[in-house]
Structures are given as C-alpha cells and as structure tokens.
Symmetry: C2
Subunit: 207 residues, 2 copies
C-alpha cells in the first residue's frame, strides 16, 4: 500500500489504539509514531506535546457524543419537549454504550478527562449550548416557561440529569432500576419546563 | 474527674477525634482506646471489629444531616412546596458547611463512605424516605402531581439535585456561580412537581 498522508485524524486514531493496548499510564508518543510507521518528530509536527495529543484525543472522544446529539438540537421546527426528551435519551444511551460496551476504554478516557479539565468544561459548554437552543425554541413556541435565563436553565437541565450522564455514576448504569429512575427524572425535568407536560412516567402517584 | 461510663456514643466521639488527628489510613482501635483511657477490649465489647466501628462512625456522620432535615419532613401541616424547598436548601447548606468548613474531616469521611457503601445506601434510603413524606403530603393537598410513584419520584428529586449534595461535586460548592445553578435546579424540580410553581428563579427567559 502507498503510505497515507499523516493527518491529525490518523494520529488521533492511532493514539486511541495505543491507549487501548498500553493503557493511559504507559502509552507514549513513540508508541503512536511506531504504530503509524513514522518518526515521533512527524507526530510532534501535528501535536506539539504529549499533553496536547492526549487533550486532542480526549476532545475527540467527547465530541462524538456532541456530534450525535446535534440532530436534536438543530431540528428547530419540531416539538421542543419531544426534541429535549430525545436529546436526553440520546445522551444517556451514548454514555451507557461507551461505559458498558467498552469499559476499559471508558476507564482510560476517565483518566484522560481527569487530566484535561478544560476540555471537559468545553464539552459541557457545547452540550449546554445545544440544550439552550432547544430551550430557546421551546420558549419561542410557547411550550416552555424557563425558570431562569436560557444558559442557566440549560445548565439546570444538565445538572438535573447528571446521574444519567456523569461518568462518576457509570457503575449504576447497568442497575436494572436505572431505567425507572431515568424515566422519572426525565418526566420531572420536562414538566418543570412545560408545566403541563407528560402527566406521568409510570403511573400517577398513589399518595 | 470520676471515670464516665463507656458508651457507644463516647467511643464514636473519640473515634472521630482520632480520625481527625491520624487520618483514615492510620487510625486504629488502640488509638481510640488510648484516647478514652480504656483497654482496646472495652472498645471491642461495643464494636466487634474495627470495620464495625468505622461503619458506625460513618453512619453517625451521615445521620447528622438526616436528623437536621427531619423537621421539614415531619411538619405535615405546612405548605409542601415550601417544605420541599427548605428541605433541599437545608441539605445543600449542611453538605456545604461540612465540605467547606472542615475539608480535612470531609475528605476523611469520603474515604470511610467509600469503604461502607451499604451505609451510604441506607443514608440515601433515609433521605428519600423523608422526601417521600413531603411528596405524599403535597399530593394529598393537591399541590403536587407526581410523575411516578412516591418512592420513584423521591429518588428523582434526589437525583435531580445531586450536584448540590453528592460529595463528588464538593469542589464546585465554593464556585460563585453555584448559587445561581442551585436556584435554577431547585425551581425546575419544584415546578416539575407543582406544574404552576414559582415562575422564575432569577428572571424569565428572554428566549
């Protein structure tokens, strides 16, 4: 095969493979260069330091969730409550898939996220910006009455669902009771925005 | 001074002192006995093992929050939305006071809580039982429409406010923006229960 051009994307893919094989403590830039059949200088031309490379791979991993949910954020014509519900469902499903489907890689990225708190902060800003667009549309359509400004309410929705997306809770995501807990939290949040939203998650309270 | 009777309460107080002085890794039952001027056999008559003693001191620490909030849970004659708001305020205030006022002891108890997950589970069950009583009263008074059964909704309220009571977030509790975030989450949860609850936390959305 002719040698492919060395792109940032190829380097990041190789870095993910190397992290999977060696773990976050042992993976080095030399391992990444070796996996690509290039010198480590070639890697450094794209990522100035090992830290920059690790940050970029963390961002790429987090952005996958971000990109998948953009559909719901962008669909400004649809019912906002439905979009918000789908966005939250999509978020929980994506996080679960990562945590339960590939627990070793998930643990690796938890280490990287701990090293790159600015990247995580940016990720949360992206996510709440998406939420904010749905909230803005919902308020404009008269579906939502927001308890605070758009950014503050978006963060409140993010916070109110943290058990279902913050990796610190990932050990609970395979608990059989988690779906019931999620449905109730989702209904509580949606009703907090719509006032008269879906009446029940799994049946009205019996007092 | 005449020697006091050796009670479980005195042992637990001494254990807390010893943990404060030596930290969770180094504190031993012998240290506790020495602090009390008794033999370690006397301590073991009340707590069969070191693990049982550490579990009891963890429970006592967690129960302090539980006991302080019981007032709001028990006041069945009052406005339920107001009681729930006060209960949540009291919970966040108590957790913050512990985390910010005495960070070393807080860190110590985080280690102990990690060792005693059953104690933590029981604590959450106590807290959501208190929440459940407020929800039951609110539903009976026609103030609340619950999105799920009382226990499931109580857990949803607990989960929806986790950023403001779960110790994993304690580093964020001294952030100046946390009060705004808390007010919005609180309003979202209350409105999720009342439908027509307090309209805004800090001003209506501007779209």
């Amino acid at each position: 095969m002719p040698p492919e051009t060395l792109t940032p994307e190829r380097i990041l893919e190789a870095t993910e493979d190397v992290l999977r094989r060696f773990g976050p403590a042992k993976a080095t830039v030399v391992d990444v260069a070796r996996a690509l059949g290039v010198s480590h200088g070639s890697v450094y031309r794209h990522f100035a330091t090992k830290a920059a490379l690790r940050e970029a791979v963390t961002q790429r991993w987090l952005d996958r969730t971000h990109d998948a949910l953009e559909t719901f954020a962008a669909d400004s014509a649809g019912d906002a409550a439905e979009r918000l519900g789908q966005w939250l469902d999509g978020l929980f499903a994506a996080k679960r898939r990562k945590a339960i489907g590939d627990p070793e890689m998930f643990a690796t990225f938890m280490v990287l996220a701990g090293e790159n708190s600015d990247t995580v902060t940016r990720h949360i800003a992206h996510m709440t910006e998406q939420l904010g667009r749905i909230l803005t549309d919902g308020a404009a359509r008269g579906e939502f009455v927001l308890p605070a400004s758009v950014p503050v309410t978006a963060r409140a929705v993010w916070d109110a669902t943290c058990r279902f997306h913050d990796p610190v809770y990932s050990a609970e995501w395979s608990d059989p009771a988690i779906d019931t807990a999620y449905a109730a939290a989702r209904a509580l949040v949606l009703r907090g925005l719509t006032g008269n939203g879906p009446a029940t998650a799994d049946g009205r309270a019996d007092g």
